[in-house]
């Protein structure tokens, strides 16, 4: 497990990173993607994933980026945190994203990908019995999220509605 030290740890698309206090985990421009933070508040350690698709089973090719899918990224996140000393019983989650950026009728299932991402993330958290403390999901705006390891608050910023801490 790689822990990056510094001020802000940036998580890209289909990416996953870990940090400890006093760092901040950030991912920018979440649309239908879902940003998931799993943290141990007592130890002030956390991991953040920027999930793009619900299931790795949908992949048409093998040798895929495991950080891209909810059903692979979340187990990786949890297992790496535990390996690094996080206590499984103390793990909690916060999530944001899963918006529907465009509303138009189309034959393909692109339309509901945000919704399906949210469901897939929740299913995984349910399997590991990790409670969701707060969430800012659905809607139709892009979000940038920052998780402060110090306060364990997730700052969600949108273009139209400004920033809130959840």
């Amino acid at each position: 497990m790689k822990t990056v030290t510094g001020q802000v740890v940036k998580v890209g698309i289909a990416d996953l990173k870990f940090a400890k206090s006093p760092d901040i985990l950030r991912t920018s421009g979440l649309g239908s993607c879902v940003g998931v933070v799993i943290y141990d508040q007592g130890l002030k350690m956390a991991g953040m994933a920027h999930v793009m698709l619900p299931e790795s089973k949908q992949a048409k090719k093998t040798n895929q980026n495991m950080y891209k899918y909810a059903d692979t990224a979340i187990p990786i996140l949890i297992e790496a945190l535990i390996k690094d000393g996080a206590r499984k019983f103390a793990l909690k989650a916060k999530l944001a994203g899963g918006a529907q950026m465009f509303s138009f009728t189309s034959k393909n299932d692109m339309l509901r990908v945000g919704e399906r991402n949210i469901q897939a993330v929740k299913d995984q958290l349910e399997i590991y019995r990790i409670p969701i403390i707060s969430e800012d999901i659905s809607g139709n705006s892009g979000r940038t999220i920052e998780f402060s390891l110090e306060t364990c608050l997730l700052n969600v910023r949108t273009v139209s509605k400004g920033a809130t801490n959840i």
Binding site: I13, A14, S28, G29, G31, M52, L53, M110, S141, T144
Partner: protein
């Protein structure tokens, strides 16, 4: 890795020519709309990972004005016409004559003007393309979206993301050379679905390797 990494020089040239023809027609359409000279850059074909794609327009958090179209038909894909808020602003002012316009609080008239611009530009791009490749391409109704680049552009990567972590972007910049030093510069991003490439190359008679 995947087909994307193994494009030959001839195939890249063919994709560049697609960008050339499409955006040439779009530039002409824009020129007629604005009644002034519009130039375009030589198209570039880039193979980028998803994060690099966001960097092309200034990073995932950058506010962009984008017109999105889904292309259905023989060679499906996605298309974006991307402007910065300043560029969109300049355009709306030129087209509607309004002076009080802000992207943050867009009125119906301005939104409609931008959508129509996207419609005309993308329509001319695609019809030229359709003739050139000899395929049937049907664009969806264009959708205007003003939001973070990452959130908007990731939608266009949905089809691709099932098979790859890379996208082939055919990118052309158009420039309206206005005298007040506020040129309208717009990016065209054409993102063919993974399966569309073989169709395109076949119809153009470009052999792999």
């Amino acid at each position: 890795m995947s087909f994307i990494k193994s494009l030959s020089g001839t195939q890249l040239d063919a994709l560049k020519e697609i960008g050339n023809i499409g955006s040439g027609h779009a530039a002409t359409a824009l020129s007629m709309m604005l009644d002034r000279k519009v130039e375009m850059s030589i198209p570039s074909v880039r193979v980028v990972d998803f994060n690099e794609m966001m960097e092309l327009v200034g990073g995932p958090e950058t506010l962009i004005v984008a017109v999105f179209l889904r292309i259905e038909g023989d060679a499906p894909g996605n298309m974006f016409f991307v402007l910065s808020p300043e560029e969109a602003n300049a355009f709306v002012k030129q087209l509607t004559g309004t002076t009080s316009f802000s992207i943050a609080d867009i009125d119906e008239m301005s939104a409609s003007a931008l959508q129509e611009m996207g419609n005309i530009l993308a329509g001319s791009y695609l019809s030229a393309l359709s003739d050139f490749i000899n395929v049937l391409l049907q664009p969806s109704v264009p959708i205007l979206s003003i939001d973070m680049a990452g959130a908007i552009l990731a939608e266009g990567l949905y089809e691709l993301s099932h098979v790859s972590d890379y996208a082939i972007i055919i990118d052309t910049l158009i420039d309206d050379h206005s005298q007040d030093n506020r040129p309208i510069q717009g990016h065209f991003f054409l993102l063919p679905d993974p399966d569309s490439f073989s169709k395109i190359f076949n119809n153009l008679g470009v052999q792999p390797q």
